[in-house]
Amino acid sequence: MQLNRVVITGLGVVSPLGRDVNSLINGLEEGRSAVQHMDGWEQYTGLRSLVGAPAELQGEKQIPRQKRRTMGRMSIFAAQAADQALADSGIAVSEISSRKIGCIIGSTMGGAKSISDAFEIMLPEKDISQLNSSMFFQCMAHTAAANVAQYLGLDGYVMATSAACASSLQAIGTGYDLIRLGRQDILLCGGAEELHPTVTGSFDVLFATSVNYNQTPQKTPRPFDKDRDGLVCGEGSGIVVLEGYERAVRRKANIYAEIIGYSTAGSGEHVSQSNKQSMVHCMREALKDARVTTKEIDYISAHATATLQGDQAEAEAIRELFGASAPVSSLKGYIGHTLGASGVIEPIASLVMMEKGVLFPTLNLEHVSPECEGIFHVTKQTKMNVNILLKNCFAFGGINSALVCRKK
């Protein structure tokens, strides 16, 4: 069976560094951290991590009210990122009559604030009569996908991949498979997530958050660093437009990259502990799918969230496969861990890095932790021709995923 080639022709982002791709890239270029102390979080008893990387919610009134009313913060971010990605791709949804244009947008969960608000309204008196009609649509797990599809009038596949921090990389990977197989012509793929004390709290109870930098927030997270102490949650959304190569060439679209390999796999071991061998397996399968060798990988965009165990396992997995041959950096020092959106925001940044021929370093990596040594850490902005890149996402739930892209 002849499989279609799949390319990326549009990018859109709302990130803690700004509300479009340029602001994200400018922030990375300037080495800027978007992490800040979260005022008001002190009121949560037991919450030790008081830092976060918020994105700015702005311009939402441009979305018509009846489309916007069912959108929580994360769906608004997703709709705005989707608007940007479509505009960037030059595709007008109204001109696509095949019913094969859809979206796959993942997230860890529905809108965290909406879920919290719904419980606050309902639980004290066990009374549902004050819940409004849109609450459910903001809380549901597929809120971003459903809302973006309604907003843009997409009538093809509408799916939500929910796999915590691997959600949006799974969305891109699933979109890649669907277009490869000819089931869809165009897919808007990505993810969204929102920052909320209940979200940070869910990591905090597992001792996975950064707690030592509440007064110096820009010093954390510190991926691969000896003084790292955990992750910092961020928020935002990223969307990429995927379509068949032939189609993109025919309409003279700007092609950022071709997706050439993808893999996702469970560790089958533990719901929260990282597992080096399953990471190795996942990366290896993605490379096999891409038909490239480890020597051909020019850059690895690491998952590295700055947890003690996760960074160690990823460094060991990369070391086993690549040694020190491929430059590695994590972007979480700049924008925190955008969770369900990280598997698309970080690849978008990586695609621009590929286009510009520059690698952005791991922010806050000052002294490589001994257990994370032996791989090629990018510690300063470096000019480098990147032809093929690998993106990793390793999620709670023991779910790994990896994507390989080649420059066009």
Partner: protein, 88 residues
Amino acid sequence: MTEQEIIDTIDKVFEESFEIERKRLEPQAHIFNDLGLDSLDIVDLVVALQQSFGVKIRNEEGIRNIRTLQDLYQFIFTIKNAESNKNS
């Protein structure tokens, strides 16, 4: 609460919850056809009215017959009148 206060409160709900300019809020305006509300909006309208007037109206039969803003004003007048008669 005077009738004018009730009208102002209802108009405020339409302005704030449904982003409809006050100049469009004519008593004869049809809530669906002229003001563009749909079935989900009606759920929110009921919640907003319950909060604004401190009443429970979700299960009131009369609510199903409301078509225009005037119908709605009248519906709330009746509810509030019944309430004050009960209290007096």
